[in-house]
């Protein structure tokens, strides 16, 4: 169970980094890639999938 929460914390941390990158990117394509990466991370952070 500890492992689950450690992994959850990592996922949330990565979400923060990806959102930060999303706003720093100057390329529309890179923004799009960051947004797509967010989808599975959000589902995982909320224990949906």
């Amino acid at each position: 169970m500890y492992l689950t929460w450690i992994y959850w914390a990592i996922v949330v941390f990565i979400i923060v980094l990806v959102v930060r990158s999303l706003y720093r990117e100057k390329s529309l394509r890179e923004q799009y890639v960051a947004a797509m990466v967010l989808i599975p991370l959000l589902l995982r952070a909320f224990f949906i999938k």
């Binding site: 959102v19 990117e25 390329s27 529309l28 923004q31 960051a34 959000l42 999938k49």
Partner: protein, 387 residues
């Protein structure tokens, strides 16, 4: 092409973020529907003779967890043996759970006891595998027009319930190493661990059920891909081999060949090996042919689940790559369910010959031809559907 336009800004970032959130919400709702389906999905209408318990009644370690699952018991008027039927160990093997449901709704036991667990791993029914593109449900229509809907799940426990998996799974009872994902596979977790992961605890609960109910014959229903060698087969523990051989011969006489395979002694965690080694039960696993979970398959939709018809498998058959006959270009669900039901019926009929005084008589089940001709829906119960 995006870079050339060079229009990225804080506004486009916000737009992208919103789009990602919307997609996550839409897909999230779809996944959540699988977790808490409506009352008509996976509904069970047990025959009047069955009494309902929960697997958690046998092992508290899974009570109130997503692993807990209904257990149905019917006792005949005459004393005899006890048979346990497991459907849905792997939720992406639909004919196995459907056969268990059909037996639950039709079986009339006159001698001995029949225990049915139609959805052995409930946690496999709440998701499908990423990139497998399986539909979330499939349907049958009963003769009265009721639509019976069942979930198509995955081979392993939902990662929401058991996460993360290790890189390598070490089977606790034997020390055998397996791929990490097998930690979430009920049929690699037997005989289970009382304080282990949730799938290991589920396996432990089945072992407790077998011991406490003094089960004589345990049958684990499965399906396999057409290209897998152990398909349309019975896998029997050493002590169950005599019974399985008798039934294999009878099935052959009836034109329903079922390969007979000995349970490998060095392949651990499987029901037929661990139940047989750790208890007195005769353990048998059945495999029918399921193209919808095969690797060669093409378009993956409800039609493939129900008909098993796939052009890629016709080609694979012509090339000699399959382990089952596929001349008709299909493996209908009705035939697969009929194969399970007929085999279970014959196992029950012959149990008396290998265990004195432990015979089990099950009536009310359709025979192979009847089920194959009329389809599964004709033998499922009707109920008032919710709006």
């Amino acid at each position: 092409m995006f870079e050339k336009r060079n229009i990225a800004s804080v506004y486009t970032a916000t737009l992208m973020l919103l789009a990602a959130v919307v997609i996550a919400v839409v897909s999230g709702r779809s996944y959540m529907e699988m977790r808490t389906p409506g009352p008509d999905i996976d509904r069970l209408v047990p025959h009047a003779g069955f009494t309902r318990k929960q697997l958690g009644d046998y092992f508290e370690g899974i009570s109130g967890t997503p692993a807990d699952t209904p257990v149905f018991i019917q006792e005949g008027a005459e004393p005899g043996g006890t048979i346990l039927i497991l459907g849905g160990t792997h939720a992406n093997e639909p004919a196995a759970a459907t056969a268990a449901v059909l037996m639950l709704e039709r079986a009339i036991v006159s001698r001995g006891r029949l225990i049915i667990v139609p959805y052995a791993n409930m946690m496999g029914r709440t998701h499908t595998f990423p990139q497998d593109a399986h539909p979330q449900t499939f349907h049958f229509e009963t003769t009265a027009g009721t639509i019976r809907t069942f979930r198509y799940g995955a081979r392993t426990t939902n990662t929401v319930h058991e996460w993360p998996n290790p890189d390598i799974y070490i089977h606790p009872a034997s020390g055998q190493t397996m791929a990490g994902v097998e930690r979430s596979n009920l049929n690699r977790a037997h005989p289970g661990v009382a304080d282990g992961g949730i799938t290991e605890r589920l396996a432990y609960a089945f072992m407790e059920l077998i011991k406490k109910e003094q089960v004589d014959l345990a049958v684990d229903l499965h399906e396999a891909s057409p290209e897998y060698p152990v398909v349309e087969a019975m896998v029997a523990h050493d002590r169950a081999m005599e019974l399985a051989a008798m039934v294999a011969m009878e099935l052959d006489f009836e034109g329903i060949p079922m390969r007979l395979e000995p349970s490998p002694k060095n392949l651990r965690g499987l029901s037929h090996r661990e139940w047989g080694d750790n208890t007195d039960v005769l353990a048998i696993l059945l495999e029918t042919c399921n193209p919808s979970a095969g690797r060669f398959r093409g378009r993956t939709d409800e039609a493939l689940i129900l008909t098993g018809a796939d052009k890629a498998y016709v080609k694979a058959f012509e090339l000699g790559r399959l382990f089952v006959p596929y001349e008709t270009g299909a493996k209908p669900m009705a035939d697969r369910v009929a194969r399970h039901v007929t085999t279970v019926k014959l196992l029950a009929d012959n149990l008396e010959y290998v265990r004195d005084g432990k015979g089990v008589s099950i009536g009310g089940l359709p025979d192979y031809q009847e089920l194959s001709d009329r389809g599964v829906g004709a033998f499922l119960s009707d109920f008032q559907q919710s709006e």
